[in-house]
């Protein structure tokens, strides 16, 4: 219930750039965390004979999973990384907090510039 109330407040609260940045940081963080749990469990299967690990790879070779790994995992990691840099800049250089909104916009530009070409290469590597 607390979570539903929080989501409702998050959507209706007009916090602008700072709040959107924080929400995306949290959503991408939890998403990457859940993937990591799956990923570590999956790598643990290397302790068994090779056919055990290779049989799970059906999942990794699935088109939907590949698309999710680019537009979910990679996108999430890249946003979380760039937003984390911005958070650290503001943490260690308090004067930058005055410019947090323009900093976030610059961060989005860097995100697009970094994500589009690398995701395009990943897409071409899919086939």
């Amino acid at each position: 219930m607390a979570a539903i109330a929080s989501i409702f407040r998050a959507v209706t609260y007009r916090g602008r750039e700072g709040q959107i940045a924080w929400m995306l940081h949290r959503v991408t963080g939890v998403g990457v965390f859940l993937f990591l749990a799956l990923h570590i469990t999956n790598i643990f299967l290397m302790s068994f004979p090779s056919d055990v690990f290779n049989s799970v790879l059906v999942l990794y070779h699935n088109v939907l999973f590949k698309l999710l790994s680019i537009f979910g995992l990679y996108l999430g990691v890249l946003y979380h990384a760039l937003n984390g840099i911005r958070v650290m800049i503001v943490d260690f250089w308090p004067g930058a907090s005055k410019y947090q909104a323009p900093l976030w916009r610059i961060q989005l530009v860097i995100f697009v510039l970094a994500f589009v070409p690398s995701a395009a290469i990943m897409l071409t590597r899919m086939y």
């Binding site: 929080s6 090779s50 290779n54 990794y60 990679y74 650290m88 943490d91 590597r125």
Partner: protein
């Protein structure tokens, strides 16, 4: 449930900061400070390592190339094993510490918090032990 205050906290002056620092030497105060610092130190490590790992696996190797044999080939090198182990420990602890804060934000009942934290600690211990075990003990047949 406690009433929430949305009032903007009055910014503390320099002397008040010093007083807060001096009084905040209790156990939880130090834990929060260490966790805050760890988040940033591990973030810098992950900025380099996790992004490299993703680009390397997706672009240099490609997802179709991933197989038991490929990982066995990578783990022939102790350097890759050390890389993977560092990524495992820093990555998971950074994530688990973040989840601790998320849980504190959304789980308010004392029982729920005990359950969620116990679960988080158990999953953390299990995954780090399993992950470290396979990275360190793997022998290519």
């Amino acid at each position: 449930m406690q009433a929430r205050s949305f009032a903007r906290p009055r910014p503390a002056g320099r002397q008040e900061h010093a007083a807060l620092e001096a009084s905040g030497t209790g156990r939880s105060g130090n834990l929060e400070r260490t966790a805050w610092l760890f988040t940033r130190i591990s973030a810098v490590v992950l900025l380099v390592m996790a992004v490299f790992h993703l680009l390397y696996m997706h672009i240099a190797l490609g997802m179709d190339a991933i197989s038991f044999q490929l990982i066995a080939w990578r783990w022939q090198s102790p350097a890759w094993r050390l890389f993977d182990l560092t990524l495992l420990v820093f990555g998971w602890l950074h994530g688990a510490n973040g989840m601790r804060i998320v849980v504190d934000d959304y789980v308010h009942s004392p029982v729920g918090r005990i359950v969620a934290r116990t679960l988080l600690i158990a999953v953390t211990a299990t995954l780090i032990v399993l992950g470290a075990f396979v990275i360190l003990s793997f022998k290519a047949a």
